[in-house]
């Protein structure tokens, strides 16, 4: 019998607590597989966010530190300065990274901190029950934008990888979507490239993963994937926004 698929060595056997149709589980698996394939599970230190991925330390089989909301890039900086040869990554949602932790991520990028940031953008606060995020789309209804996000009242959603790609210290910035096999494979390649560049000392690396939140979007898992494709990808275009290893480097 041939084994065609098995759980990554980077994952613990613990079943995740995520809602049906949530793509956090896929993102966790991709990180685990990359750590395994690069042979760095035993040396890596990850930093968990506050949000739905707060229990990441229960699911990944590497050392982890739980950060305060938004502070993961600062915590990762402290770790990397003490252990410069170890791979260090943060895993952060859009509330964590793009709202309360915007200062920390921008300055970690500015310093060219040799860390990898996995940025989950699902356009909403998940754990707290579906409030408006900085990446919530205009017109999108959330519990704190019950009439739909009004651009006059609270601005338009922020594009993180585009912004960070303008910063000199950023070596790699890509946006992927966890919508289908092809895009999931692309996301894995991006995560692997980010960790590889980190190991080469290239600088700050970030992979944004457009993700679904069927529960707080009020959609079935399948409809949620369609909603992401129809609404998020046009506003948050997929692609490589910065890659210092290629000609030209930036999109």
């Amino acid at each position: 019998m041939t084994v065609v698929y098995k759980r990554s060595e980077g994952l613990t056997p613990k079943p995740t607590h995520f809602c049906p149709g949530c793509t956090h589980g896929i993102a966790h698996r991709l990180v685990a597989e990359v750590l395994e394939e690069l042979g760095i599970i035993d040396t890596t230190i990850g930093v968990c966010p506050v949000g739905c991925a707060v229990f990441l330390y229960d699911y990944l089989r590497c050392d982890m530190q739980e950060a305060a909301h938004g502070r993961a890039p600062a915590v990762a900086t402290g770790i990397k300065r003490v252990l410069p040869d170890h791979p260090v990554f943060t895993y952060q949602g859009d509330g964590d990274l793009a709202s309360i932790g915007m200062g920390e991520v921008v300055h970690a990028a500015m310093r060219g901190e040799k860390i990898t940031v996995i940025f989950i953008n699902n356009a909403i606060y998940g754990m707290t029950g579906g409030q408006m995020a900085p990446t919530t789309l205009v017109g999108q209804k959330t519990t704190t934008s019950p009439y739909g996000r009004d651009a006059d009242h609270c601005g338009k959603p922020i594009r993180i990888v585009e912004m960070l790609s303008t910063i000199e210290g950023v070596a790699y910035a890509e946006r992927c979507a966890l919508t289908d096999v092809q895009n999931v494979n692309k996301a894995k390649r991006a995560i692997k490239k980010a960790f590889t560049l980190q190991q080469q000392g290239a600088g700050f690396t970030i992979v944004e993963l457009l993700s679904t939140c069927p529960t707080n979007w009020g959609l079935t898992p399948l409809r949620a994937v369609d909603w992401l494709k129809e609404n998020m990808i046009p506003y948050f275009p997929l692609g490589v926004y910065k890659d210092i290893t290629t000609e030209g480097g930036a999109k």
Binding site: I41, D42, T43, T44, I45, V47, C48, V54, Y57, R61, C62, D63, M64, Q65, E66, A67, A68, R71, A74, V75, A76, T77, G78, I79, K80, R81, V82, L83, H86, G103, E104, V106, H107, R111
Partner: protein, 351 residues
Amino acid sequence: MELWKGNEAIGEAAIKAGCRFFFGYPITPQNEVPEYMAMRLPQVGGCFLQSESELAAINMVYGAAGCGARVMTSSSSPGVSLKQEGITYLAGAELPAVIVNVMRGGPGLGTIQPAQADYYQATRGGGNGDYRTLVLAPANIQETVDLMGDAFDIADRYRNPVMMLLDGMIGQMMEPIEWHERKPAEDLPAKDWASTGSKGGKTHVINSLYIDPALCEENNRRLEAKYKLMREHEVRYATVDTEGAEVVLVAFGTPSRIALAAKAILEKKGIKTGLFRPITLWPFPEKQLHEVAEQESVKAVVTVELSMGQMHDDVRLAVNGVKPVGFLGRSGGMVPEPMEIVDTVLKTLGR
């Protein structure tokens, strides 16, 4: 003997105590601490990093402490307010670190002149939750450098943040000091909990999240047991002529030195005066102060501090009604003259 500025001496003492990582943000009157570390840490193979904010600095401290490093940050009052988030996380995740607060006047932006009005914040825990920070309050630069090694050792021994609480006077002045060799205590527990990679074995998780309330309470009871040990073993204080005194002045930091000048004046007036100086503000030397106050000779206790009355609460709790407690507080960067202390003592004695 060498002449050292307080803030720079703090930096050198930390390095002598084995501190190799410093994360901080500029704020007056503690700027010479990060400046000194920026110059000195690279010379000893350490790392100084200026953070984008005090919030980032204390969270960098968290990350470094979680890897088992001896790590420090320093700031002054408004900056230490910002660090409170990180301090409660350090306490919750049981990470050792040293935080220096060179206090200035508040509230708000206040003033850059010396004050002691962060006493509540330091001793009560400015962050959320059931936690304690051990607080050391030196009164001169020699004591500051001597306590620095203790601060790191206590942090490591209990896996808890330790705060060095100084008024801006001590940070800014220069005094002659002697350097003593100060190696980390030999009986400190191994940092086998640090997240330095699982190395094929058990993973290390640095965390303060206990979502199950029963487990959260259990953790808090475990922390409380640790704080009880700190209360039993780490109380520090100094006394001058408290035995058989008629009046006992209670002061820490710079006011304790002014209190000594007042004591000399009071004694010329025939009032036998003692000084009780807490060195740990938490745990407060409650029992020891009570015993001093209880003496038959003591007619009054007088608190002197650079705030509108913060340590005064702890003094009253310690004295617990056995003697009248007078109070002299100057605030907002003002410092009392010895005669103001003398007048307060006479008033408290009803003379």
